[in-house]
């Protein structure tokens, strides 16, 4: 639920808020097209609760009708006074009824809004459940393309934002449309000639707005463009402030923002001069219902074509017309914001799902085989004809420069994506023909990024095997070298972790995730070696934990520190998505190719000493000027 000041469309400034944003909503051509579409989509989402929706519309309409009461009461009183014989008792009653109507309007408007919210909350619940169910069916690779925060935002904030459209659409639309229409009908009953004259300024205003908008298209476009450029420049500057500060001797870095602010002023001036100021006349016209009707009414009354009583009643009701255009603008702005939210939600709902085999087959053993596997992300082919086999219990290391396809290859084993060509099989069964659950049971992943959910440490470890008892959990933690740090926590295994729980260090989180994998006890383990340095003592503990975990399992390891894999059964060297070299460490070093170069670099990195150059080793003095040195 949002707290906005202008829930009351009728009370929107009678002179029409041509704000920055509403003007924009009207100026952008796609806006007018999609606003109707958004309204239709929102109504479609609420369709399930037809009766509540109708009730909400009924209350909204009633509220809109009641909102005309003060004007009608004024009209009645004016007529009575003009006719001479005033019955004050009657006028008092009219005033009292009008007062009750004002209160009733509030009641019914609140009812309409409340009902709409009820519908919105139910619809949001369905939307969230549908999204969550979808996330349970998409391939795991879907999550690689999105940051975790993105999905969180969609489930929480985007769905939350949709409420604003759904809950306010009905009450506001009825207020913006019903009240003016009824007022217009009343006016027409009183005097149709004057009604036409009262409409004339609105028509003129709309024609003028149309012309101004056409004329101002260029400046409006420029203005919108400079707005987004300014946002980019400022965001970049704020992001890079430490750099700006470290190097800003000549202020060249902040000069950029100064320039863009000056440009902003320039384009904003132009936009206002060409697109806003000329529209001021339209703003006046749109709210000047009296412009033609009042003078004509006076003259007609003088001529006796019209009684002054009729004229007075007409004038009072005419106020009830308000500024229809302005309130519709307000609603359209509100709906425009929904477009992006709905788009993001739709994008998730439209994601393709992981096909599930109708007649799953069970693998005979745990022989892992890649047969001529190719894979593309969209148009970019990231793996070409990869072919290998890992016998149960053996160790395969994947090595290569960043971007060579190591991670993608490893992920194909757990069907994060399905292969583009060729096949991945376990025990002779194509993994696409395995039941997802069976595949899941066969393969464990240990990534360097660790997800801990809000719950106790024990629950987090137990994720590996939900029915594990406390002893099994503690045993897994012990083997993952996590028991010692858990045991000294005040609440031990019951310590709550997760986003709002106790903060653990990266190394500690790593070891909890290893304990999980130990509990899960899958025969195939895929390990992405952490690239971030933990401090040396943590590092050693993690290594012990991994040694424990990988014992007696098939191991596929993405290696970053090459010395750790010198004993692997086979090393696959990937380069640009192809297997460039393969063999044992000794063979590959002997070949003198990419692996040999990488290994030599690795050794050099490990033995590097700072400030060696001072001893005149491998780097010479640079021809730098000495101006800043003095």
């Amino acid at each position: 639920m949002t707290v906005s000041a202008s829930t009351e469309a009728l009370d929107v400034d009678a002179r029409g808020p041509v704000t920055d944003k509403t003007e924009k909503a009207v100026a952008e051509p796609r806006a007018s097209v999609s606003i109707g579409a958004v309204a239709v989509r929102l109504f479609a989402m609420m369709r399930e609760r037809r009766w509540l929706l109708l009730l909400s519309i009924f209350c909204g309409t009633l509220a809109a009708l009641l909102s005309l009461a003060p004007y009608a009461a004024a009209a009645v009183a004016l007529v009575a006074i003009l006719q001479g014989n005033v019955d004050w008792h009657w006028i008092g009653l009219v005033g009292g009824v009008a007062l009750a109507a004002v209160a009733g309007r509030h009641l019914f408007f609140s009812l309409a809004t409340g009902l709409s919210h009820k519908i919105a909350f139910q619809t949001q619940q369905e939307l969230r459940l549908a999204l969550a169910a979808k996330l349970a069916r998409v391939p795991l690779g879907f999550f690689d393309d999105r940051s975790k925060g993105e999905l969180r935002t969609i489930l929480l904030d985007d769905v939350e934002g949709v409420e604003d459209g759904m809950a306010h659409l009905v009450p506001e639309l009825s207020a913006a449309i019903v009240a003016p229409v009824v007022a217009l009908a009343l006016l027409a009953v009183i005097d149709w000639r004057l009604t036409l004259l009262a409409l004339l300024p609105i028509v003129l205003g709309l024609v003028l707005i149309g012309r101004v908008m056409k004329q101002g298209e260029g400046p409006t476009h420029d203005y919108l463009a400079i707005q987004s450029r300014m946002a980019e420049t400022v965001a970049e500057m704020a992001d890079g402030l430490p750099t700006v500060r470290a190097f800003n001797q000549d202020e060249q870095a902040t000069a950029r923002t100064q320039r863009i602010f000056a440009e902003m002023t320039h384009f904003s001036d132009a936009w206002m001069r060409h697109a806003v100021v000329p529209g001021s006349a339209a703003q006046v016209l749109l709210s000047s219902h009296l412009l033609f009707a009042a003078p004509a009414g006076l003259l007609m009354a003088a001529q006796g074509w019209l009684s002054p009583t009729t004229l007075a009643a007409f004038l009072a009701i005419a106020y009830g017309l308000g500024d229809v255009f302005a309130s519709l603008q307000g609603i359209s702005h509100r709906l425009m914001r929904q477009v992006q939210l709905l788009d993001r939600i739709d994008a998730v709902m439209a994601a393709s799902e992981l096909p599930v085999s109708a007649a799953p087959a069970a693998p005979a053993d745990m022989l892992l085989r890649f047969k001529n596997v190719g894979f593309s992300y969209g148009a970019r082919q990231v793996l070409h004809g990869v072919d290998f086999m890992v016998a149960p219990g053996r160790c395969l290391a994947l090595v290569g420069p960043s971007g060579s396809g190591k991670s993608t290859l490893a992920r194909l084993i757990a069907r994060f994506h399905d292969v583009g060509s060729g096949a991945v099989s376990i025990g002779g069964v194509d993994i696409r023909d395995m039941a997802p659950d069976a595949l899941n049971r066969a393969v464990s992943f240990v990534f360097q990024e660790v997800f801990l959910f809000a719950g106790s440490i024990a629950d987090n470890i137990r994720l590996g095997r939900p029915d594990a008892d406390d002893d099994a959990v503690i045993d897994a933690a012990r083997r993952a070298r996590a028991h010692d740090f858990i045991a000294v926590l005040p609440q031990g295994y019951d310590t709550v972790v997760g986003e709002r729980g106790l903060g653990l260090s990266g190394g500690e989180r790593q070891r909890i995730s290893i304990a999980r994998a130990i509990l899960k006890d899958a025969p195939i383990l895929v390990l992405d070696e952490a690239t971030a340095f933990a401090d040396p003592e943590n590092e050693a503990l993690i290594q012990d934990a991994i040694a424990e975990l990988s014992r007696e399992r098939t191991l596929i390891v993405i290696a970053h520190r090459l010395h750790t894999i010198v004993q692997a059964d086979e090393i696959l060297v990937l380069d640009a998505g192809r297997v460039a070299e393969r063999g044992s460490h000794a063979e590959l070093v002997g070949q003198g190719g990419l692996y040999a170069r990488m290994f030599a670099a690795h050794e050099a990195v490990a033995n590097h000493r700072h400030a060696d150059a001072r001893k005149g080793d491998d780097v010479g003095q640079l021809p730098l000027s000495a101006e800043a040195r003095s």
Partner: protein, 574 residues
Amino acid sequence: MKLLAFIHAHLGDARGLFQRAMVFTFLEGLVTAGPVIAVALGLMRLAQGPADTLAVLPYAIAVVAAVALRILLIRLAWSSGFRAGNVATEAIRNRLVGHMRAVPLGALGRWSAARLATLVTEDGRWINEASTFTLNRLFGGLAAGLCLLLAAAWFDPATALAVLFAFGLGLLSLPVAGRILKGVIARRNAELTDISQRIGEYGEGIAVFRSFRAGEGAFARFAEAVDRLRRLMLGYTPVLVSLHGVAATLMGAGLPLALMMLAWRGDEAASSLIPALLLGLAASHALSAAVLGQMLPFSLGIQAEAGMARFLAEPVLAHRGREPGAPLEFTLEQVAFSHDGKRGAVNDIALAARQGGMTAIVGPSGAGKSSVIGLMMRFFDPQSGRVTVGGVDIAEIPPARLQALTALVNQDVHLFRDTLRANILLGAPSADEARLAAAIRAARLEELIAALPGGLDTMIGEGGRTLSGGERQRVAVARALLKDAPILLLDEASSAMDPLTERAIQQAVAALESGRTLVVVAHRLRSIAEADRIYVMDQGRTVEEGRHPELLALGGLYARLWQAQERAAGWRLR
């Protein structure tokens, strides 16, 4: 009114324009009342007895003339007002950016980069909105309403009083309802955090839940949280919707109240009641429209101003214009510093980095190593003790001078959306081609540049070519080479890249190290084994110091770290 004062203070030369806009807006407001007054007088004339065309013609003409005059005045008001508003907005934006450069970098930690960007762009837009549209509207609408109210009072004070009473009541209810709303929403949000947490967690963790075959349980917990959320939101709905629009309702009661008051008084019905009622109706309409219509942008403007004022109140880095002495030795003398004022990040630390030497800082993660670098760069000032360079407290040296003395190379490399050349030249904008080429060669960037389609003039960053972590590191080295500061602070990258890249970075950094005072925060103990002095930090304190052999012999934390590292280096999978 703080908002008005804030905008007014930044108008500069446009102050006259702004005042003119306000005058025109006021006049326009008065003229808005014109048609109603004219037609009301006309009606009164008609009520007083038979009138011919000529008798009502002046009133008819007055209506049209007033509208025409309003069109003219609004145009005048808008053209000068917008110009003034844009000038003020630009001045405010520049002031904010200027302040970002003047406060300690540590203070910027309290203001995330994203928040600062919104302060300038989004909040800047609301200030612009307020200075161009909102204040004008509010002011003009109130002028029109009050003018109509005065006119109504002229014909019948009681009617005007009733309208004013209802309007005042509505106005008073605004802050009251606002406060209650705020309280209710705060209470609701407090209950909401836990549920939101559970809902968001599903999005973040579903991949992991699924890979542990725990997807169904997670879905059930999610569904339960979503249901709780719906019920919670529904529970608060009645109070929230009924509080909304209370002000509008009260303001709408003006005319009915007036009628009841007239009835109660029960006087002879005078024809002056006709204009009084019409004017009262118009006044009630104009006043509530002015206030309620501008309430949202107005309150957003106030919020924006409050945020800006808070940021502008951050104290800037002070100094006394002193020059550092010689030799250029960096010292920390009994320095204590903490980010949040409670937990100590650095505690009573003493350290000296000799000119031309290499000083290393090592220790477990979270020991406070990077805070020491931050203190040396004066990203923040210590709570006690002092940091000196060349014997002078760095708090007395002009910040720009201190900046010129030091170069920091760490893992965060910021590239601007510009050409690679401009990004490197940030180190020394006036460097000639020869110096640039030397820096590029030393930073091992030649190969990269040869592979880029536009060479040095290729656009970098979003929308252009993105550089890998290793390439970015080397750009940072090239910048630092060009900057050529005598003291180099090196915060080693804590994540491994592929060995070829990592080796190239090391060689580039080696070129940068030569001939400079060097302070290294190191993760690989081997790389600093030859440092002139090693400081071992733990939990914000220096627990050991000395040269490598001495520290090993000491058998303390350093020796333990060293052994752990040697063991890890010899570790093999299987």
